[in-house]
């Protein structure tokens, strides 16, 4: 994938990262989080990136979102080079990103409001989206009055209401308990299959990655993270994330990818211990 990669050829890709390197200058010297990484997401494709903790996965996503300019390399959105914020992408953050002073409804409609949609229309659509993520009746609750899972649903509605062509997700469900997490994963799959957006999904959970994706990309341990390999996931859709984990093909894929990932996880663990 990374060898012989030419972004010019991939004009039809929704999102392309071409030879991206991210170096941070710190007091303790320069630190290269990501080195020469290339990846592409086709329109309507669900791509997961897995890698050990602290390997610079979020850095990669921030580059794709335009929140962070890469030290070297380029980002293309539908063939056009990205400059500044990626307006065609929605971003679901790992940490709490809702505005705590706005209730659920006002949080969901924020994006429409920022883009100058008429008040009534924004409100009506925000209500629809809250119903869609199963939060009808919670419109006037503030984030601190909602459970962790509910807050994630609000965040999901907040991102998807803008109908972005590309959805970037940074371990969005890592803070949830296993049951809530599987419910949310199924909901994401439902929403995704309804209007096939291009998704770049970051996670450290290999099972989650396989259950959701069309393709899984494995990253090396940091620093100087780069992709080690990629695996097409040929599991049939529609999937149920809890059931698919039991299928023999899932186990096979898991086995194959884990072979690559395992040594990196150990490397990352050893580095973490040394520090």
């Amino acid at each position: 994938m990374s060898a012989g990669f030419d972004p010019a050829v991939d004009r039809d890709a929704a999102l392309t990262l071409a030879h991206v390197t991210c170096t941070f200058g710190g007091r303790r010297g320069r630190y290269t989080a990501v080195r020469d990484t290339s990846l592409r997401v086709a329109p309507g494709e669900f791509v997961s990136v897995v890698g050990p903790t602290g390997c610079g996965k979020s850095t990669l996503l921030n580059v794709a979102a335009g929140l962070l300019a890469p030290s070297a390399g380029d980002v293309y959105v539908h063939g056009a080079p990205l400059n500044g914020i990626n307006a065609r992408a929605g971003y679901m953050f790992q940490a709490e990103a809702l505005m705590p002073w706005r209730n659920a409804l006002d949080n969901v409609k924020a994006g429409l409001q920022f883009r100058g949609a008429p008040r009534g229309e924004a409100e009506a659509r925000a209500r629809q989206w809250l119903v869609r993520v199963g939060l009808a009746g919670f419109e006037d609750r503030y984030p601190h009055q909602l459970s962790g899972g509910m807050r994630k649903r609000v965040a999901l509605a907040q991102t998807l209401i803008l109908d972005p062509e590309i959805v970037l997700m940074d371990e969005p469900f890592s803070a949830l308990d296993v049951q809530t997490r599987q419910l949310m994963e199924n909901e994401v799959l439902d929403l995704w299959s309804a209007d096939r957006k291009s998704v770049l999904f970051i996670t450290h959970d290999l099972e989650e990655a396989i259950a959701l994706s069309d393709r899984v990309i494995v990253l090396s341990a940091g620093p100087e993270t780069h992709p080690l390999g990629e695996f097409p996931i040929d599991l049939p859709r529609p999937r149920d994330v809890a059931e698919i984990r039991l299928s023999p093909r899932f186990v096979e894929l898991h086995e194959a990818i884990w072979q690559v990932l395992k040594s990196e996880v150990l490397k990352g663990y050893a580095q973490g211990k040394r520090q």
């Binding site: 971003y91 953050f93 002073w101």
Partner: protein
């Protein structure tokens, strides 16, 4: 929750209230006994009554003030001064706080002077304000403003600096322009800090008004105290102090009510004190 568990170790409510009444009753009884001939000698009682006043006389002055209505114009003036000082000081603190927090150059430039101004005992400015603005309402408001300004300023500055970077990044991804970030992220975050310092800043506005009146005025509760002091009428001085205390308690109660309304979105209030 915290209240319930803490009160287990405390006295039952009813008994606690009884003890509280007994405590203030005891203090008043001691005051009465020391300033009335009987338990102590005539000369001693006369002496202490001159310095400490008599509880009965103080109560008479207070009751008389309210029955004759003589106190209301003075209380009204003090209240207006307090509210004006609070409003003007908060607005100024909010604007300057936002400006300095969002402009690194301006804050670097102003920092040592802000620190110096904050360290200065600002009550000492009262005579200067009396010269500049005369003995009317303006000089008291000016003094109150200098006291309120710094509390609000530091809180706003802090509030803007502590805006969660994730919330900020999320708003940018949702399409917020620089102006919308100011209006929908920085301002709500900063005002929440202003509200959480309401008690302190209203209290300070009140101090400014009363001290200003005391140092030279023609109306207000501070003026009443100043007048009485001039003729060694200690009973009236203490009566003035009692009225001010009751008034401050009332003001504080009102602030608590307002605060509860304004900060519904907050899980709990974090109070910072800057005096």
């Amino acid at each position: 929750m915290r209240k319930a568990s803490a009160s287990d170790a405390r006295l039952p409510r009813a008994r606690l209230a009884l003890y509280q009444v007994l405590l203030i009753g005891g203090v008043l009884a001691f005051w009465y006994a020391m300033t009335t001939p009987g338990l102590v000698s005539d000369a001693f009682a006369k002496n202490t009554a001159f310095f400490f006043g008599k509880p009965y006389e103080v109560a008479k002055v207070v009751v008389d003030w309210f029955i004759s209505g003589k106190i209301y114009p003075h209380l009204g003036i003090t209240l207006i001064e307090t509210l004006l000082a609070f409003a003007a000081g908060s607005l100024l603190g909010l604007l300057v706080g936002l400006w300095l927090a969002l402009s690194p150059t301006a804050s670097a430039l102003a920092e040592p002077y802000i620190t110096a101004l904050n360290a200065m005992p600002r009550v000492i400015l009262a005579p200067i304000f009396a010269v500049w603005f005369g003995l009317g309402i303006t000089s008291k408001v000016a003094l109150g403003v200098t006291l309120v300004f710094f509390i609000v300023f530091f809180n706003v500055y802090q509030g803007v600096k502590e805006v969660s970077p994730v919330v900020l990044a999320n708003a940018r991804m949702l399409g917020a322009s620089q102006r919308q970030l100011l209006r929908h992220i920085y301002l709500p975050s900063a005002t929440s800090w202003v509200f959480s310092s309401l008690h302190t800043s209203v209290g300070m506005a009140f101090v400014g008004a009363v001290v200003g009146e005391y140092l030279g005025s023609a109306k207000g509760v501070g003026y009443l105290i100043l007048q009485a002091e001039g003729v060694f009428d200690i009973n009236t001085v203490i009566a003035g102090i009692v009225v001010l205390t009751l008034f401050a308690l009332l003001l504080d109660f009102a602030v608590t009510k307002i605060e509860a309304r304004l900060l519904v979105w907050r899980p709990r209030t974090a109070e910072t004190e800057q005096l």
